[in-house]
């Protein structure tokens, strides 16, 4: 049985080699996802604003500095509000902050000054970030200039000594989605190809068990998927990702890939078309990536999204990857249960792939 499975695997891998363009395209799909999500992460960083602040005096300079060093804004100094409007219209900034020339004198003499904020309120999410950034800037300005006069102060207590960048956090989920899409594509395409080319009849007539075929397909999918996912991981290492638990990382890498290669074999047996496997992989991969804790723990998501995510293995794979790479758990379940669910998924996926293949063969 094992020898037959080995032959199926070898044949499968050779087929990938004789069709290099399709194979390379499939291997590169997860890398493409990585690039796309890096673009997304870059876009989710600080708010680009034009800052009009000429000779605004001592307080004006202090406020300028607070804006330039804020966690919210990426400020670009400009000459006038007109330049600010031009930058907004050209989609180079989304807001203009204008500190008037009389800022310092007004604040010193009248105890009151104003700042003009022009917002390209494209949507409520972006606009609110811009609006909420100003009180923080003013709080920091007041704390630096009028420390004894602030009516209410606060002390921030961070749970972790270092705040991971958005890109680093996101990159862990990108590794999971690379395994998901790579696994589904390699498992699914390899199996669907047998029906498309009509070679399934030869496999059915061969003196080997269906189990050997499934095992061979799984093994081939694991090898190809590994190549693809390793490429993504190497790029992530270049981005500065440094795992803290290599053993756990290797384990979750293999189990996750196994789950999706198995499900890929099942999908390939059901749809019998490589052409359908491809959009299905994307359609499954993207929503599950976003839903399964890509941006933060699912407990902070909407209840419906959290409930949907908790059904799928992507969530548990993400949580374990976060722990292996960043060192913290993003789910309150005990680690043994998180691992248990992922392993149950692996066993279930194996059974599903075997049943799907057998049913497809019987109905053929």
């Amino acid at each position: 049985m094992l020898l037959a499975a080995y032959r199926v695997m070898k044949n499968e891998l050779l087929l990938n080699l004789v069709r290099p363009l399709s194979s390379v395209l499939t291997i590169l799909v997860p890398i493409n996802f990585l690039i796309l999500f890096v673009l997304f992460a870059i876009g989710g960083a600080k708010v680009p604003v034009g800052l009009v602040a000429g000779q605004t005096g001592a307080y004006g300079s202090q406020l300028t500095s607070a804006i330039e060093h804020s966690i919210t804004y990426r400020a670009q100094t400009i000459n006038s509000p007109v330049s600010g409007t031009a930058l907004i219209q050209a989609h180079h900034t989304v807001a203009t902050i204008q500190i008037p020339h009389s800022f310092t004198s007004q604040l010193s003499t009248n105890n009151h000054a104003s700042v003009h904020l022009t917002i390209n309120n494209l949507n409520s999410d972006f606009a609110n970030d811009i609006r909420r950034g100003m009180p923080l800037v003013l709080y920091q300005f007041d704390a630096a200039n009028f420390p004894g006069k602030i009516p209410v102060t606060y002390r921030e207590v961070d749970t972790y000594p270092k705040t991971v960048t958005f890109l680093s956090f996101l990159s862990v989920s990108i590794q999971t989605v690379a395994l998901l899409i790579g696994g589904l594509l390699f498992g699914g395409r390899g199996t669907a190809r047998e029906w498309e080319k009509g070679t399934i009849k030869e496999l059915m007539l061969a003196p080997i068990s269906p189990w050997s075929v499934v095992m061979g397909k799984l093994a081939a999918g694991m090898v190809s998927g590994m190549v693809s996912a390793m490429l993504v991981f190497i790029v992530l290492l270049f981005f500065g990702v440094r795992p803290v638990a290599w053993g756990e990382l290797t384990g979750v890498f293999l189990v996750t890939l196994f789950v999706f290669v198995s499900l890929g074999v099942a999908i390939g047996s059901l749809v019998k078309s490589q052409f359908i496997v491809i959009p299905l992989s994307f359609a499954l991969g993207l929503p599950l990536f976003f839903l399964s804790g890509a941006f933060g723990p699912i407990a902070w998501s909407t209840p419906v999204a959290a409930d949907i995510a908790s059904v799928f293995p992507v969530l548990y794979a993400n949580v374990i990857f976060q722990h292996a790479i960043e060192g913290y758990w993003t789910m309150s379940l005990p680690p043994a249960i998180i691992w248990g669910i992922l392993l149950i998924w692996a066993a279930a996926a194996l059974v599903i792939s075997s049943i799907a293949y057998r049913r497809a063969v019987i109905s053929h």
Binding site: P48, N120, N128, L136, F169, I276, S301, M331
Partner: protein, 370 residues
């Protein structure tokens, strides 16, 4: 006249095949549907994460006012009043992302002019969620200070806000436009691309070559079929969004602008589709490439953000991506009710459509001559 009949037959045939082929429909619609589903599911969570409030000054008026401002603050998904033990448990269980603790003497300190100090415990998993929380507290404190007169002598700095649009578009509406543009392009690429591949894969290219159809009629038919498919899916998607109240019903002029922009985007997509179909002549490869291309163009054009957030080099790339102009124009028409900049967007898309045809048509012509 004969060529017109043939053209009509080719368009009808390609659209009929598209409508009857679940696989092609899946390639066209699934990526966009997946993105849309995601937006709907995540929309509520975008406004912020859940937090806990521990008020140790239950009898104080100022503390109650701060508690009230916090529970009604729009920057949190939810803000729940808890006792200290419950809040710590919820924090450990990750049910809340932060705890705001109002100290016991908060109201008294404020009343005698002393500065009370709050504690803001933040689960700083990553910069994105942590910075949202860091921005939220000063914002809600400024709201509290406006609603509760303190004896503070702190100089007042007023923010005069001026918004460019009458109201903020919703998160779903804003992103839906990007998804519609992706759908338009995908429909054009897939329908024209796979319609071309199919002729080679099924061998029907020989029959077409032997028919009285000229190469130009054949190519025009493929492109028109792609554009019709693009416009059809765009109209259906926009119609559904209007029925659901996600986007407002535009004026006739703006609706015509929207139709023009989707048509031009569809022509670009169809040109690219014909090119991919002719060069690769394989359904599987064309389907991978078309899906990847759609996603690339979607993200490079800003996707669910705006290109202003990109670094300079990426903004330059985005300015060459047709989706950027289609998204800009459609958002103006459907979300902000404005035609400002529409001419520039239409011109850029016209140029993109010409480029698409210049790439696609000669490739198919060469393919036919072989």
């Amino acid at each position: 006249m004969d060529q017109l009949h043939i053209l009509w037959a080719i368009v009808k045939k390609d659209i009929a095949i598209w409508l009857r082929s679940p696989a092609v429909m899946a390639v066209t619609l699934l990526p966009a549907i997946a993105l849309m589903l995601l937006l709907v599911l995540q929309a509520a969570a975008v406004q912020g994460s859940p937090v806990a409030i521990v008020n140790l000054d239950k009898s104080g008026r100022a503390a109650m006012q701060l508690e009230n401002v916090t529970t009604h603050y729009g920057g949190f998904y939810s803000a729940t009043v808890m006792n200290s033990t419950e809040a710590n448990h919820a924090f450990q269980q990750l049910s809340v992302s932060a705890i705001l603790t109002i100290p016991k003497a908060f109201s008294y300190d404020l009343s005698i002019g002393k500065t009370p100090n709050l504690t803001w415990q933040v689960r700083n998993f990553n910069e994105d969620t942590a910075n949202d929380l860091r921005r939220a507290l000063p914002d809600l404190l400024s709201q509290f200070e406006k609603s509760y007169s303190t004896s503070s002598k702190l100089p007042v700095i007023t923010i005069h806000e001026q918004d460019l649009h009458a109201k903020d578009a919703t998160f779903i509406g804003f992103n839906l436009v990007a998804v519609i543009v992706m759908l338009v392009l995908q429909a054009g690429v897939v329908n024209a691309g796979l319609a071309s591949v199919r002729e080679w894969e099924s061998g029907s290219i020989k029959e077409l070559l032997m028919s009285p159809s000229t190469a130009l009629t054949l190519i025009t038919g493929k492109v028109i079929a792609g554009v019709v498919a693009s416009d059809a899916v765009a109209m259906i998607a926009m119609g559904l969004a209007m029925i659901a109240g996600i986007i407002a019903v535009p004026s006739i002029t703006l609706a015509l602008w929207a139709l023009l922009l989707t048509t031009l985007a569809g022509v670009f997509g169809a040109g690219i589709g014909v090119f991919l179909g002719t060069v690769f002549r394989n359904m599987e490869r064309v389907s991978v490439l078309s899906v990847m291309l759609s996603f690339y163009l979607f993200f490079l054009a800003g996707g669910i953000t705006d290109i202003a957030y990109f670094p300079g080099w990426l903004q330059t790339i985005a300015s060459f991506v047709p989706n950027s102009y289609a998204m800009d124009g459609l958002r103006s028409a459907l979300l902000y009710g404005s035609a400002v900049g529409m001419g520039t967007d239409a011109l850029a898309l016209l140029l993109a459509a010409v480029v698409g045809l210049v790439i696609g048509v000669p490739a198919l012509r060469r393919g036919l001559s072989h």
